[in-house]
Amino acid sequence: MQARTGRGFGIKVMTMGGNSNVKLISDDGIRVDGRKVDELRPIRIEAGVLKRADGSAYVEFGKNKVLAAVYGPRECHPRHMQNPAKAIIQCKYNMIAFSVNDRKRPGPDRRSVEISKIISEAFEYVVFTENFPRTSIDVYIEVLQANAGTRCAGLTAASVALADAGIPMKDLVPAVAVGKVNDQVVLDLQKEEDNFGQADLPIAIIPRTGEVLLLQMDGHMTRAEFDQAIEMGVGACKRIYDLQKDALARRYSVEKSEEDQLEEAPAETQEG
């Protein structure tokens, strides 16, 4: 973005979290990083970036950098976790030690266990798990750089990676966070807004049907603000959805030149 950043905001970043008197939105409705209240950060999505995984994706939401890899369906270990009726989705969200300012102590913590769980559950609703009984589909989300909204970026990336892995699912899943900052509803919070704002509301939907797959809220909002936030989030999800589709289309575009035989080959494998 251009030099619109930081103009006349007078940021006093000293309070520890919670709301404060930090002015995050200027009087003409421009945010700290120069965006309007309903503007997304620049988003970049790339499908099929890893060679060893069955499916993969790389997503940037502004300064967030997230890598997702999918393996499977594969034999489920440990065995007692397998379900004879359907596949299970095991998601692992992890923040790399250098993803935040202070080194993040490696390993699962309360927060990453929670995020892994809610992302798995979101996908269990869209993936046709009943096609692969007794297997597990493993989704790995690695946050390389965090700047608020990583669970949404991670979910967006994982959904593209699942599609890239050839796993049958109802639809791609876009996700975005909406929040409340300086008593205004704003889209796609970035770090300062998340830290010093009043509310954070990540949302993931199935764009075609509008079904909600993930909805959390941290902070306080009035009912009217909540409705406005949902509306804003759903609209943004549809824009992210287009970017997801575009990423997959680019990945497979070479295949558009596909001309000749892709029809069912004879089952028998002839000896030479």
């Binding site: 007794r134 890239d164 050839g166 796993i167 109802k170």
Partner: protein, 237 residues
């Protein structure tokens, strides 16, 4: 019949893409139905065949279906069965009744041991995807010598080619024996140098599976490397 005809039989579709809105076509593989409309369930190529819309997958894991010829590897042995890895999420037991030899109870290891490669056929798959394989059919056997390479199972039709044209060409020009399993495993045997050329040709097909004139390009490649023509003088040169 086909309303959105557009000669669209080679269109790339993504999960959630609408394939048919009017209930004119039936939902085939790789699709699902919601509110009477047919949507794509996975990334693939849309194809319409006898009133069915299908999505031919471009990736994913091999899921066994009865009648497929596969190349398996023995991963475990029991007193009356072998456990065969068929490159799918499901291990496939091979019972002693399904092999062409008479095997006494507990004598399985004398016939095939862990690590052996074999050519088998999927006998049956039940609804919880329990698989059984058989070797009791013409041409199914334990594979001795040779090498196995793995490719994505969705590229197998391209490696075989129309009516087996591609694989036949590779066999003739490199003078190797090749088996292609539906599970994406390919077994090759012959002169070590020729095997290397054949593997390179197969990898080339896998990487460029979606491009046109692939057969000619593979032929060009093989012609360039197989200069010392096989002494048996195949007519393909």
């Amino acid at each position: 019949m086909n309303k959105e005809g557009l000669g669209s039989s080679r269109e790339i579709v993504l999960p959630g893409d609408l394939l048919d809105s009017g209930g004119r076509m039936k939902a085939g593989s790789g699709t699902y139905v919601q509110d009477g409309r047919v949507y794509a369930a996975q990334v693939g190529i849309k194809s319409v065949k006898s009133n069915f819309v299908n999505v031919i997958p471009l990736g994913g894991r091999y899921i066994p279906s009865p009648g497929d010829s596969v190349i398996g590897k023995v991963v475990d042995i029991g007193p009356s069965n072998w456990l065969v890895d068929i490159n799918s999420p499901y291990p496939a037991p091979l019972h002693v009744n399904e092999v062409p030899w008479r095997v006494d109870f507990g004598d399985t290891a004398r016939f095939m041991n862990v690590g052996d490669t074999l050519l088998a056929k999927i006998l049956m798959v039940d609804e919880t995807k329990r698989v059984q394989v058989t070797m009791k059919e013409q041409g199914l056997r334990k594979l001795q010598g040779g090498q196995v390479v793995e490719i994505s199972y969705s590229k197998v039709p391209r490696v075989i080619g129309k009516g087996g044209s591609m694989i036949q060409m590779i066999k003739n020009m490199t003078n190797t024996r090749i088996f292609v399993g539906q599970n994406g495993r390919i077994w090759l045997d012959g002169d070590i140098e020729n095997i290397v050329f054949a593997i390179r040709a197969i990898k080339m097909i896998e990487e460029n599976a979606q491009t046109m004139r692939l057969t000619e390009r593979v032929k060009e490649y093989l012609e360039s490397v197989c200069k010392p023509a096989p002494a048996e003088g195949s007519e393909s040169r």
